[in-house]
Amino acid sequence: MVLSTLLVAALVGTALGAFLQKGRFCFVNAFRDFFAYKDSRVTKGVLAATLLTMVFWGIAYQFGYYQTFWTPQWGLTGLVGGFIFGIGMTYAGGCASGTLYRAGEGYLQFWLTLLCMGIGYAAFTVAFPTLDSTYFAALTVGEGVSLFTVTSIPAGLLGVGVAIVALLGYATLVGRASTTAEFGERADVAQLHLGALRAPVIGLRQFARGTATYARGLARAWRTPIAASKQPWDPRTAALGITAAAVLWFTQHSIVGVTGPEARWTGYLLSQVGVEANSFEYWGSVLFQGQGVDVTVDMVMIAFVIVGAFLAAVWSGDFAVRVPKRRRLPNAVVGGLLMGAGSRLAPGCNIGNIYSGIAELSVHSFIAAVGIVAGVYVMTHWIYREVGCAI
């Protein structure tokens, strides 16, 4: 590997880790807390990061500043694997990226989760030849594709268009919620009809107000940069930083993935202790693509996510070696195994499929994202079975 490539990987990884840590950018939190008690702070951060990244990746692609997309074949594997992954990440209490940044914050529980994800990858690799001819053959429908590459609309424009449609949809939901509250239960049909028309406008106005408040807060924070950098950040601030790092990565390497590089780390580490990783079809020809089992640039990037999270946590006074309660060990073990296996069965994790996958408009990722969110929904209801969920 060239030194400049390594430096970019280290920079992007460190930045991602730091922003994830500062924004508590947790995909489990984003969906679980929304279902459990309609808390959408982190959900908004995830949406902002995904849509902004989509716009900038679209522009970068249109002008040729990109290397490759990640577009696996699509089919029901996304739903099945995604669902298993969603169950796993909710039970573990951390998604693929969340596990990494919490490992950097000193959570021994999430180092155990990482280890069990590794066992999940290894088990999948052993079973791959059978799965390939049964599970993947039966459930795969077609070749994977990014919508950026197949439409006649310029990619930059398409990205902006999808972002605007998503914003209008969001504004309508927000606007409708507030008009319903305003009219109360006595609202008649005519009023509600009017409300439906006004909803996007009201929602957009609220969005503009919220964004202005946020921008003012950010400007205030800039006046005392050192003190502000130690405080917890709004997930939207983290979203801006994550977008910048992801755009740099896209122009230099590819989309941002987590579990693919982790599965390669598993093969590489096993090969260091004498396992013939290269002789396994999944490691040898799928993950390392016949190039031999060695450290690749995205593996370096992922390792630096832990470093970045560690540095940010130390800086903020959030770092501590945290020993889990013994009754939480099943969460790390079972959750890790399910995430490891689920991310290979889909394929892809929350970052590959929800964040990067939607941002690159990959058909496979639309399906897998539905699977993951469905898994989170089911598992959230199970964990909250004694106290109940809002949605």
Binding site: R24, C26, V28, N29, R32, D33, A36, Y37, K38, D39, S40, R41, K44, G93, G94, R102, E105, G106, Y107, Q109, L173, V174, A177, S178, Q206, F207, R209, G210, T211, T213, Y214, G217, P232, D234, R236, G317, D318, F319, A320, R322, V323, P324, K325, R328, N331, T380, I383, Y384, E386, V387
Partner: protein, 97 residues
């Protein structure tokens, strides 16, 4: 669906002295050290169900996100205040309404 404005609504922070004083009033203390989301949220909700109005529930935690997520989870059931020790441990004070 909550509005985008409530992002800024984080719980009040207690000073070291207030935190120590208030801790002695606690009617129920939950040891959440080593626990991660969402279990502290679930335990806080269960804990509040056992308490009377005006009672104080205190959670001790070393999981940063809990300082925001637990107050969110209990919502209107309790008034929340948070104390940050500065060395990665936190207390969440929930006064039942």
């Amino acid at each position: 669906m909550p509005s985008i404005d409530d992002v800024t609504n984080t719980p009040d922070e207690l000073s070291d002295d207030d935190a120590t004083e208030l801790f002695e009033e606690a009617d129920l203390v939950q040891d959440m050290m080593g626990e991660v989301c969402p279990y502290p949220q679930v335990e806080a909700k269960k804990g509040l169900q056992q308490l009377e109005s005006g009672d104080l529930l205190v959670q001790e935690t070393d999981h940063v996100p809990c300082t925001e997520n637990v107050p969110r989870a209990v919502g209107d059931d309790a008034d929340a205040k948070v104390w940050r020790s500065g060395d990665a441990t936190y207390r969440i004070y929930l006064r039942k309404r």
